[in-house]
Amino acid sequence: MNVILFLIFAAIAVVCGVNVVVQTHPISSAISLIGVMGSLAVLFLLLGAEFLAAVQVIVYAGAVMVLFVFVIMLLNAGVEIRQGRALLAQVLGIPLLFAFLGLMAYFTRSMFPSGRDVRFGEFHYGSAADIGRALFTQYLLPFEVISVLILIAILGAVVLAQKELD
């Protein structure tokens, strides 16, 4: 059951991920990315992070990606034009990517040869209460700092958007 669920959603994630890269229309990429996020949320659930799974959907799929879609619609972004001068990226990109992937896989295999198997329900420290307790005790300072960051981001977005209106 675990394996089946993992394989299904991993496959969805990878297919959607590939789609993000190969689709030429930004809105198709965006939809595919939402697919990746959704399947990742399920994987989070499998890993016992139920709160984060919900947050993943609410924040990423529900807010961030809606913003993306909104901007794509607003700018009426069309199919992208394939013209560029990034010779390096074109030539070096693909081989480098494969090298990177291979190295990462090698590391993972060699560093975690006998990692514990993931079984749904074995880990149950991911509830909202656990996250909240950690956030408001051990990670209180980062939490406050990040709230200030959010505030700054809001102000920045407002300032930028305001300038656009003038």
Binding site: I34, A54, I58, A61, G62, V66, V69, M73, L74, A128
Partner: protein
């Protein structure tokens, strides 16, 4: 395998009831609005137009299914699918009633209970935006696009006060599971004031309730916040280019969202399936009384018919009501049906408010809508949340 079988049965029952409700909700809406506007409403198909939903469904199914040219076909088809799926899915975590026994198994009148039920509903509803946004985009129509843009901005904006309004009662109830939420609202102050969130000490969540309800109007694109489908500006908004069953899907999604939102309001603020006053004070006989009263009225109209056929239809309705009243007197069934009655009564009352407001209020202008969300609802919700948190921290 009992688990799966039970779940299947429950799912089928819930789906059937929900879909029927959706169909008839539309009839109810047309009737209520008609009466608000002093006209009869649907009247031809069946007695008092009772079969109108069926006729509508047949009409929609048999209509020509148009796909406009120069559109992204995949997205065009995906949009109504997303809309209706996301709208229907959230009903699965709503508890309709307490524990019951079916075929010797203990179960709950709820499809499933999640630890993060509230977050689940929020997540699903936030994904629901895509249905409308993509429909607007994929139709390749400027009115649709404007409708889609408006709805995405509107729904993102109103999600904030909505979530903040949800957070406040959660501070009181201390759980995210919807079933536990209802259970923690049981009990009475002084023997008659229920422990519902809107009454619960130390901070009655009346403000949250109002904010949630207003934000819910916006989230469901209902008047006075139905900017995405403002007829006089945008033809029909995001579903201008949709026809036949795809159009019906959007309609279903809208009504289903309404039902979900009302059910969520009931669960979060109005104590779910819990009765208004204690059973000891006779709350268990209320349904019987109501149905008896309704039957008596129907019987009276049947005995004094305005039209000839009323002499047959009204007595028949009266009989149905009397049977219902009797069913509520059977002790074995009453235990299962009373929670359902209370849940349906509360949800139905809220739905009536939705329809009532649609019949009464005009539409906002778009900038007013946004200003209202950000400059009024959001601050009020934040203040409410802070005050609640403070009081909870001080008194519990």
């Amino acid at each position: 395998m009992n688990f799966f079988l039970l779940s299947l049965i429950k799912a089928v029952v819930v789906a059937f009831v929900l879909l029927t409700t959706l169909a008839y909700l539309q009839w109810v809406e047309r009737k209520v609005i008609a009466h608000i506007q002093v006209r009869p409403g649907p009247y031809r198909v069946g007695p008092h137009g009772l079969l109108q939903p069926l006729a509508d469904v047949i009409k929609l199914i048999t209509k020509e299914d148009l796909i406009p040219p120069y559109t992204s076909k995949f997205l065009y088809l995906l949009a109504p699918f997303i809309a209706v799926t996301m709208a229907l899915i959230s009903i699965s975590v709503i508890p309709f009633g307490g524990p019951i026994r079916i075929f010797g198994d203990n179960t709950w009148m709820q499809l499933t209970d999640l630890n993060i039920g509230v977050l689940f509903v929020l997540a699903i509803s936030s994904v629901g935006v895509y249905g409308i946004a993509l429909a607007g985009w994929a139709s390749n129509n400027k009115y649709s696009l404007l409708g889609g843009l408006r709805s995405s901005a509107q729904m993102i904006s109103y999600e904030l006060p909505l979530s903040l309004a949800v957070a406040a009662p959660l501070l009181l109830l201390n759980t995210l599971s919807l079933r536990t939420i209802v259970e923690r609202q049981s009990g009475y102050y002084l023997g008659f004031i229920p422990h519902w969130s809107i009454f619960q000490m130390p901070m009655p969540q009346i403000f949250s309730f109002v904010i949630f309800l207003i934000a819910a109007f916006a989230e469901t694109n209902r008047i006075p916040f139905d900017l995405p489908e403002a007829e006089n500006e945008l033809v029909a908004g995001y579903h201008t280019e949709y026809s036949s069953m795809k159009f019906a899907a959007f309609f279903m999604a809208e009504y289903s969202n309404m039902v979900t939102v009302c059910a969520m309001t009931t669960t979060l603020f109005l104590g779910g399936w819990l009765p208004l006053w204690p059973a000891a004070a006779g709350s268990e006989f209320l349904p019987t009384l109501i149905f008896l009263f309704a039957g008596a009225i129907a019987l009276y109209h049947g005995l004094n018919p305005v039209r000839r056929r009323d002499a047959y239809t009204f007595p028949a309705v009266a009989v149905v009501f009397f049977v219902l009243a009797l069913i509520f007197l059977v002790p074995m069934l009453r235990g299962a049906l009373l929670p359902l009655f209370w849940f349906a009564a509360k949800t139905g009352g809220l739905l009536f408010v939705f329809i009532w407001i649609r019949g009464t209020l005009p539409r906002f202008r778009y900038d007013q809508l946004m200003a209202f969300a950000w400059k009024f609802m959001f601050p009020v919700a934040v203040v409410n949340l802070l005050v609640t948190a403070l009081l909870v921290a001080l008194f519990s």
